[in-house]
């Protein structure tokens, strides 16, 4: 089998042209491996070879972003490579941004497997971690010996169409996609190890950094309830008996819209819950406990509220991804606005 063709991108410093004073050189292409490319050729062994190296000054790239990308993409296209690698940039900020930009462009515009590498605190890491695979390196070029084989390994996997493992397995900076894999030790042992490190002030890496929640500011309070139309929306899984839309008991992929024109009360004969995450007995006995149609009708008759909207919306919140919830909410909100609903009573379980 012939070797995979690799194009490598590096900056003026790693091409040994010069430091900051040469950061303004425009892109140029050289045949074969240059500088760190030799380490990559070693890491690729018989499987791949750096056929060409593109060198560009960090300042020139960042000051002429579009032109730089286009020029470099043309140079890459000519080589018909199977793999593209950039850097690694370690802790060099502008080099990191250049590596991230060009790697993303190669991936999306040329569809060629592309990998870069940099230190986690390189500004390029935050900018591009969710867009391209970035192998995590240390903060100085002394790490080249270790970084090159990691980048080569992942690039080969991509070129062969093999499944990429979790970030901890394939050494890339977490890209926002949680991926399962089997650790060497069971969880309890990892917890004890992590605890001992934490107690002793030694470094450890949490397996799940806390997420930033998407907070929604509440609307201003309604001054006069007697004039408004209120809709009921629930994540408590209340559905007409038999669950006609087959809403999942956990990890819902859909929501249901149910007409309650003329319905005064959600009876056990007509309604039930599809939700698998709580004791369903009491919701099945009287679904008003989750979607309070009965009380809302009373309020309607007494004039406490203007009107109860004639449809309610329901899904199961149990194990349902935030992305799915967001999608449901956007669609439900659109329909509520179209129906001129003023307010929503959102019930959970």
């Amino acid at each position: 089998m012939s070797k995979f063709r690799v194009v490598h991108y590096i900056n003026q410093f790693f091409a040994q042209i010069g430091g900051e004073e040469k950061a303004d050189i425009p892109p140029e292409k050289r045949e074969g491996a240059v500088g760190p490319g030799l380490a990559f050729n070693k890491a690729f062994g018989d499987e791949a070879e750096v056929v060409s190296t593109i060198v560009c000054g960090d300042s020139w790239f960042n000051e002429n972003l579009e032109e730089a990308k286009n020029t470099i993409l043309d140079m890459i296209r000519e080589e018909k490579p199977d793999i593209f690698i950039a850097g690694p940039a370690f802790n060099a900020g502008r080099y990191g941004v250049a590596c991230g930009s060009i790697t993303e462009a190669v991936k999306t515009e040329l569809g060629i497997p592309a990998v870069t590498g940099m230190y986690i605190e390189n500004p390029g890491a935050d900018m591009f971690r969710e867009k391209v695979y970035i192998i995590e390196t240390k903060n100085s070029a002394a790490d080249m010996r270790k970084a090159a084989p990691k980048m080569a390994k992942l690039a080969l996997k991509l070129a062969k169409g093999e499944e990429v493992g979790a970030s901890a397995e394939d050494d890339y900076i977490p890209n926002g996609i949680r991926k399962n894999f089997f650790e060497k030790k069971r969880g309890s042992q990892r917890a004890v190890d992590m605890l001992l490190a934490k107690i002793n002030g030694k470094p450890y890496t949490t397996e799940y950094p806390m997420p930033d929640f998407d907070r929604v500011d509440p609307q201003p309070a309604i001054k006069d309830l007697s004039k408004v139309t209120i809709a009921l929306v629930t994540s408590g899984g209340i559905v007409p008996k038999g669950n006609p839309d087959h809403i999942e008991s956990s990890s819902a992929t859909k929501f249901g819209e149910y007409d309650i024109t003329g319905v005064d009360d959600l009876t056990a004969d007509g309604y039930e819950t599809a939700h698998g995450g709580y004791d369903p007995v009491y919701a099945n006995e009287d679904a008003d406990r989750v979607v309070p149609v009965d009380v809302m009708r009373e309020f309607e008759r007494e004039g406490v509220i203007g009107k109860l909207h004639n449809k309610f919306y329901s899904t199961t919140g149990n194990g349902t991804a935030v992305a799915s919830s967001k999608k449901f909410a956007e669609e439900i909100a659109k329909r509520l606005i179209a129906d001129e609903v003023d307010a929503v009573l959102l019930t959970s379980t």
Partner: protein
Amino acid sequence: MKLELGYIDIKGIRFDDYNAIEDGVLVVDPDELVKPVLEDELIKSAHFEIATPGESIRITPVKDVIEPRVKVEGPGEIFPGMIAKVDTVGSGRTHVMRGMAVVTAGPIVGFQEGIIDMTGPGADYTPFSQLHNLVLVMEMEDSGASAHEYEKAARMAGLATAVRVGELARELEPDEIEVFETPTIAQSYSDELKDLPRVAYVMMLQSQGLLHDTYVYGVDVKRTLTTMLSATEVMDGAIVSGNCVSACDKNTTYHHLNNPVIQDLFKQHGKTLNFVGTIITNENVYLADKLRSSDWTAKLAGFLSLDAAIVSQEGFGNPDTDLILNCKKLEAQGIKTVIITDEYAGQDGKSQSLADADPAADAVVTGGNANQPIVLPPMDCVIGTLDYVDKIAGGHDGSLRPDGSIEAELQVITGATNEMGFNRLSAR
């Protein structure tokens, strides 16, 4: 408290017309063993089947997995307050039938729903594929009894069967003996221990209601305040499972008996840390309960003068709040805390994994993303029924394909993302 566990290795199970353990093989008379199960008038039919590691067998819906044990020395019997009369267990000697389990299964969807595959890709995710399983398949009488009563009948039948099987190990010579000893407060300040960091295990227990309950010495945990026990009591069945919905991260009774956090803390006890106590706390649905229980967790941790703690969660979503409250309140007292959880990051892995979060939770161990899709190929034999696969948590309309294979989320597999850290599965 000092407890000796004597392990009797079980290498196989077969049916015959007598009960014994012969050369590591459990021999049972299924007709005799099923008789007491059928005495419960709520149980219409029951029978036993055997599932061996590597066989093309799918067990579903699963209610509980229970390791047979018998108390041979010391006060009390296995499953005190549940099967045996109330007496403090956790000292003396207990024989363990290692390598096997009694599994309760049958068509009682709503309170039985896990899947155990004995071979294929699904087997990699459940520890119970590695055990010789004596499966008790039950069907309930359609007598108008409440779901709560059915759940209890199925739960008690499994525990009682495990106790009867465990009795066979009473007189045997164990293949291996392990000794566990928990210190009193005074002993925890002995010369050997006093310089080591004081660590406790905070075990969170499901208590959200039917299908989500746990029992300690027979007490429904949702009616308890946070309390303490000796880790050895857990090994004698002080805690039993009453839940299996979203089976991937519910602790079966087997998990409680073999709690891995307790085992791994014992391994370090007296070496790198001082394992001074086990705190158990519930996961009720009301906010007032959550606040009270987590207050008590922090208070008991304070009484123990802890330096550090490991908190294990059970379940997901609503209990994420309890997990974060416990973690925050421990950390606020300067107690260094590691939490064990699992994730619901969506099938694409792109969503937030937990329903609650706090910067204090800076040391997290994860049992993996339970939303991860998986295809389970058809098996030659199904113990139980596939009728409910589309409805169980983690399944969807069309999960069961015409050829008998199942396309679902990891969530459907019993114990797949266990939050005691029982497995090697993780995510990044």
